[in-house]
Amino acid sequence: MDAIAPLMPGVDFAYDEVTNLHELIEELRGHGPVVPVKYLGSPVWLILDHALLDRAFNDLEHFDPGDGYRIISSPSMGRTLQVMAGEEHRVSRAAVSALFLPLKVRSYVEALIEPIAHELMDRIAGQREVEFVQGFARPFPFTVITRLLGIPVSDEALLLEWAVKLIDFPWDPEGALRAKAGFDAYMQGILDDRRRRPNGDFVSMLADAEFEGRKLDDDRIMGFFRLLFPAGSDTTYKNAGSLFACVLGDPAIREMARGSDKDREKIVAEGLRWQAPTALLPRMSTGDTMLGGVHIKKGEWLLFGITAANSDPKVFPEPRKFDPSRDNRALISFGRGPHFCLGMHLARRELETALRVVLERYPDIRLTPGKTVEYVGGVLRGPRELWVQPYGAA
């Protein structure tokens, strides 16, 4: 791979903001379905084509996510579902999946998701202008997780600090390991308590979860707790920012968002496609293979071009048009195959509930005129800032 020169050598998809990511992708598409680009200073393969990405997600012989995650995240994240494979993955995932299935997630909407959305809306009452990413999009999914885990409100800031640091291992190994120690000691206390006095909450159910007669040990449960934050909070908040930018920026879509649950489901699906929060997903190949006419060697790194596949014109006509009426079944934002995002239903219900509650509470909310929205990030992507006026022009 080192011998292969990346296209667009002036762009590093890890370090640069790539505000024009979708334009770059369209240009790269002209060079083939799998192209070399620069990431963390080195050449990697970027998969742009929807069918090939679908194949790669399902090809665990050549693209098992475990090897890559063991390098970039295991020291601080521990034994998460991302590094498990085969039987261990199947059993561990099945044990926790009941907590994330449609029926269960529906019950979270009224009990958990809606009250948090209202709470955050209360906080912006009376303000003429609000930065919506920090004011709502970011704390919303984070708080859903801390409340699911039974963490008292007074400790939420502490948890945020640890959660941000846990995934920082490649850049700050010592800081990440310190965060792990703090997080583990804290969460072990909650887990021990629920083992002694189960109260039917999420942690109690997790402690008791079993599949085919096997329960999860503490090591796996702690790995699961750690994974919840980067997997469920960072992704959802990025997408919530993009979603509201699109909805508030277009009167017709905004009107549709005030309609039925089905309308909001369509808008959220289109938001997930149009600006996937995990835009490019790094992965290390686990075996030599040919993909899209290029030879990928074992140990080489790739970027799974989720946002590129979501804009593949062969699958989504006029892909850069935000059109909630399109058929979004081929959406690939949550991956494919056995490692498909466990929190997909939770993420969607959070985003749909956010749309409903925000527009109920602030019917005149609008983007602040004159402030442009810039989407940033090659891996995790969303608007840098989103300035809104909750009371409109008033």
């Binding site: 009941a98 449609p102 029926l103 269960k104 529906r106 085919e212 079944r329 195959g337 498909f340 969607r348």
Partner: protein
């Protein structure tokens, strides 16, 4: 072989199915509303739930433990519920009829 889908309004849609394909794949290829199959058939998303009519329901091999676990979290579970990604088409299932639920979520 033929495969029938009954949508939420009661309208029947009939297609030619290919032996070896899954019911879910047939539904998504023909854009049958209400069957999503977002994970691609790995029993990881629970968005391809459907109700299987008789006699076909009884002709199918029973669901695996994993499929049963996933079904238990689906909306509107009935005795003839299945994940359609787990049903492989074969010639003896000619005429198989699947009712699509009102909502997967």
């Amino acid at each position: 072989m033929r495969i029938n889908f009954i949508d939420e309004t009661g309208v029947h849609h009939t297609f030619d199915g290919v032996a070896g394909d899954t019911v879910m794949r047939c539904a998504t290829e023909h854009a049958v509303a209400g069957i999503i199959g977002e994970c691609g058939g790995a029993m990881a998303c629970a968005t391809c739930h459907g109700y299987l009519a008789e006699p076909w329901f009884s002709m199918l091999p029973p669901p695996s433990t994993q499929e049963r676990e996933m079904l238990s979290g689906c909306i509107g579970l009935k005795a003839n519920s299945r994940l359609t990604c787990q049903i492989q088409l074969e010639d003896r299932l000619d005429g198989i009829t699947v009712e699509v639920p009102n909502s997967q979520v």
